[in-house]
Amino acid sequence: MDNLIALLVAAPLLGAAVLLCGGRRLDAVGHWIGTVLAAASFVIGAVLFADMLGKDAEHRAVGQHLFSWIPVEGFQADVAFQLDQLSMTFVLLITGVGSLIHVYSIGYMEHDERRRRFFGYLNLFLAAMLLLVLADNYLLLYVGWEGVGLASYLLIGFWQHKPSAATAAKKAFLVNRVGDLGLSIAIMLMFTTFGTFAFGPVLEATGETGEGTLTAIGLMLLLAACGKSAQVPLQSWLGDAMEGPTPVSALIHAATMVTAGVYLIVRSGEIFNAAPDAQLVTTVVGAVTLLFGAIVGCAKDDIKKALAGSTMSQIGYMILAAGLGPIGYVFAIMHLVTHGFFKAGLFLGAGSVMHGMNDEVDMRRYGGLRKYMPVTFVTFGLGYLAIIGFPGLSGFFSKDKIIEAAFAKGGTEGWILGSVALLGAAVTAFYMTRVMLMTFFGEKRWQPDERGNEPHPHESPKSMTIPMVVLAFGSVFAGGFFGVGDRFVHWLEPVTEHTHGHPPIGATAVTLSTVTVMVVGVGLAYLLYGRRPVPAVAPRGSLLTRAARRDLLQDDFNHVVLVRGGEHLTRSLVYVDHTLVDGVVNGTAASMGGLSGRLRKLQNGYARSYAVSMFGGAALLIAATLLMRAV
């Protein structure tokens, strides 16, 4: 039974290999192959899940050792998998949402002649992501980690003829590399400290080593998490990543990959538990990002970018929760799962809208779409209610718990974090309502595009709507299913031990305040965007708005400091290499040449002048002999 674990990864990997190497002859069936294999992987996951439920909570973790990967004296890296409740949660999320989005893509990518390749990339992503969550050591995790990076690079830049897409893809990969820097340094530190980097030994040995080392490792892991999960200061790539096809945004940049950072932190819980400073930094990063994302989300008119900001902010919640330690881990994962449902649903909805609107993404060109695409409207609406934490829906349970835990951290930081989380909830409600209103309500604002063809909003095909319905279902009930009776807590407890936090103001009070701020946010948004018509061109807006439209100037900073500075550095270095380093060499050569050129003049071709030198030489010889005899 345990041997199925490898199959989880193998199935989509096989799919990727077949689709990418298969060539054009697979174009016709490519998307079916991809979808089937993704589904197969989901089925395997389900089987394993059933098997796992059969065991008692303590013995659910199973492992599979495939082969020894890099055996070098003292450095033993294995290809081995471990499947415990945490991994299982991710496996189900990844394969489940993944399969849905495969199905969705069949319709969405119908008119793209490179659809086969698209599915190949999707499968590749699934394989890498599963490897990431199934690895039983950090090095193998690193492989998956970079693998998903590669997949997202390929998928963001899928429409490579668009320079913007290519640039966005490169940017995403580079920023992620900066994060990977942290992961690899962390692994090195583990190796030099513990002599291994397998989860088990490392996490057991945390007690024996000093806090300094653990803090260093923790911070490095956090850096990695920031890169992958688009947390401040490495968040800048996520917005541009929306250049990719919408299913990609839904799967990779909302539901699964971007949450890998949360997985990493939760997985390394023991390390963080033993390093409070690292935890503090984590919570701060989370808190900052959740506000940052939310603010950005408020200003964007591009529906996908608005959702991207929201993703950033929601992951901020998760990171915050993960930073809280045992009182937060479970809720981080729980929010991760619910968010996976509703955010994927929202993105698919957005994709469906764009599908009907000739790929128009500017919300100011939408309006009143609820009449034209009812299914999309309903599913999107449910997702919306879920994310703003409408009581009874998924988001409510998970987010409320996180806010609670934030307060429960205690002390001033507890208050600060808690109130930031609350504020975030309010802003979330605000910008999501804004999106909702601008897209589906009000009167129609779309005009014919430059090619003069008027968009005819229409409901998307079944292959697209069905996944949306399923996800909407999930985003409605998942939270309740997990939350009621702390099912999820008990499920995960064996892996990430859970201590129940006690907020200073009481759980009910927190819940009430959450609901109130949510209502306030919604109301505010209604006043701004529901009552008066939305202008088709964005008003200049306040300073904050304009900054937020530019991702709070983060990109400008990067451009000025990193890009420009880097360009100047490299250009000057090229100059130095050519003039200085190479100049020394060439200079030597040149001086030699000059010298010989001067000597050459002595050789004028006249036998007589040669004879003179011979004669002089003879004279010198005699002189020498005489001298020798004299002395």
Partner: protein
Amino acid sequence: MSAHLAAGAGSPATDAALAAYSTSTGEAVQFWVLGTVAVLGALCTVFLKRAVHSALCLAGTMIVLAVFYLANGAYFLGIVQVVVYTGAIMMLFLFVVMLVGVTAADSLKETVKGQRWLALLCGLGFGILLCAGIGNASLTEFDGLAQANAGGNVEGLAALIFTKYVFAFEITGALLITAAVGAMVLTHRERTERARTQRELAAERVRAGKQLPPLPAPGVYARHNAVDIAGLLPDGTPSELTVIGTLRERGQIRDVSDQAIKDLRALEQRAGERLGRGDRAAREDREGRAEEAAK
């Protein structure tokens, strides 16, 4: 006088003198006088302008050396020196000089920069060093050739040549043969094609537009073939005999002995160009051509 002394040196009466620690005053006088002559001859050989004069001076020096050989008891060498060197080799030189005639090469004007001074400097240093070497070599006492020449100088040499040095002797024989053959090979021109008739030659000359009449008689080196121009003797002076009597009487002989100077300028210009400082020389040469054409 020198000849008589040499003969005297040869007589058994003076053999003792040869053996003695120091030589006779007679020989001393002979040395100082003839030595001066030899040195002067050598200097003239080097510094006289015309090859013919150099050759003659060299011949003189050689004869003096022959005398010295005799004085040093090398009777055979002395004779050989006179017969072979002065008699044969120097004459060979003169023949060649006659063949080659007066050329622009006969000038002491130096074309290679600094060559002359370098040469003189090296010569001076070399001489001084040689003398110094001889000086501090302890050559004070020496035993004469009395017993070596006892059986007669020639016999002594013969004995050595045909015993000790016979191999080297044979080799030199081979060398001479080779040299003779080599000389022939170098100077001989094989005629491969049919000899051209007078007519063809004339036609060719007309076509080429130069030197219509035949070249001057052998031994005469003429640069011009107008009847009123004298051919040049080997030393470059015009020989009146080559002009017909009438014109000689009228004194209508044109002198072209400055021809050598023209050639010299041409050569110097060539050299100048090769040494990259040709423009001035070239201009001079062009002027020279111009006035030549004007003439």
